[in-house]
Symmetry: C2
Subunit: 152 residues, 2 copies
């Protein structure tokens, strides 16, 4: 047995699976961001959470759950971490006092701006890698897959 390089390992059907390539691409994207993100002390998941909060001031955790399909306890913990780092505030809203409206702090906006620059740089590298392949068709395909696999 002497498999010196990855190409000599038989991955056969695995590499023909859509799901496998999807995972490879997704983990490559996360891994690529993880180092520069670490300096900002945010994760890719927190970046996307903060982006939604920025675009939707006073959004509630329940709304975020519909997007992320996580358990509410998971979301609560994630929010708590962002609040603890002073990136997000949780404000009592007028009306239903069970709701807590989420918004970015000034520090949160700064971190988000830096993270966004990193993400967009990666986006450009991915677009370049696509070459002649139509990006919009790719995006549409990914959305269709999400729709097909979604079960509510």
């Amino acid at each position: 047995m002497d498999k010196e390089r990855e190409d000599e390992i038989d991955l056969a059907q695995l590499t023909d699976y859509f799901g496998y390539q999807l995972r490879q691409a997704q983990t490559a994207s996360f891994r690529d961001l993880s180092e520069p993100f670490r300096e900002l002390d945010v994760t890719p998941g927190e970046f996307s959470l903060m982006t939604i909060v920025k675009l939707n001031p006073d959004i509630r955790q329940t709304d975020l759950l519909r997007i992320y399909r996580l358990d509410k306890s998971t979301m609560s913990v994630a929010v708590k971490r962002l609040v603890g780092r002073g990136l997000v505030t949780q404000d009592q809203l007028p009306g239903d006092r069970r709701f807590h409206g989420l918004s970015l702090t000034e520090a949160g906006r700064e971190v988000l701006a830096a993270a966004t620059a990193l993400v967009e740089a990666q986006e450009r590298r991915m677009e370049d890698a696509l070459g002649d392949i139509d990006k919009e068709a790719m995006m549409k395909a990914l959305r269709r897959i999400v729709g097909a696999l979604r079960r509510d």
Copy 2:
């Protein structure tokens, strides 16, 4: 503030990010498999590990690390769990006694066959969802992205 449905939440630039759609599609795929896989007591990651082991009998952990880009301790723990469940064997190889060749047991082959059927059913659903979009172009695009983001 009254955001009753997901579509009313402004996701704006987020949904235009390739990385975001990639993650959505990948987590949809995992989530979709998680329930049927739970009955087999394997994870999607274990499925792909077992597939590689099946195709490459007596493969070593070091070889798997080049494919998965994990820490060797992570791989060791993953292998140990599969061995503990009697799905994989770790055999001393002739020659260098530091290596342990991994192979599937009969039980491992059975579990893998059942898992493969589930994965391939999902693959067909994803292909159907693509409609007129060229699957091969998609696969090529994903491989290019992985290549572009890989740094060794």
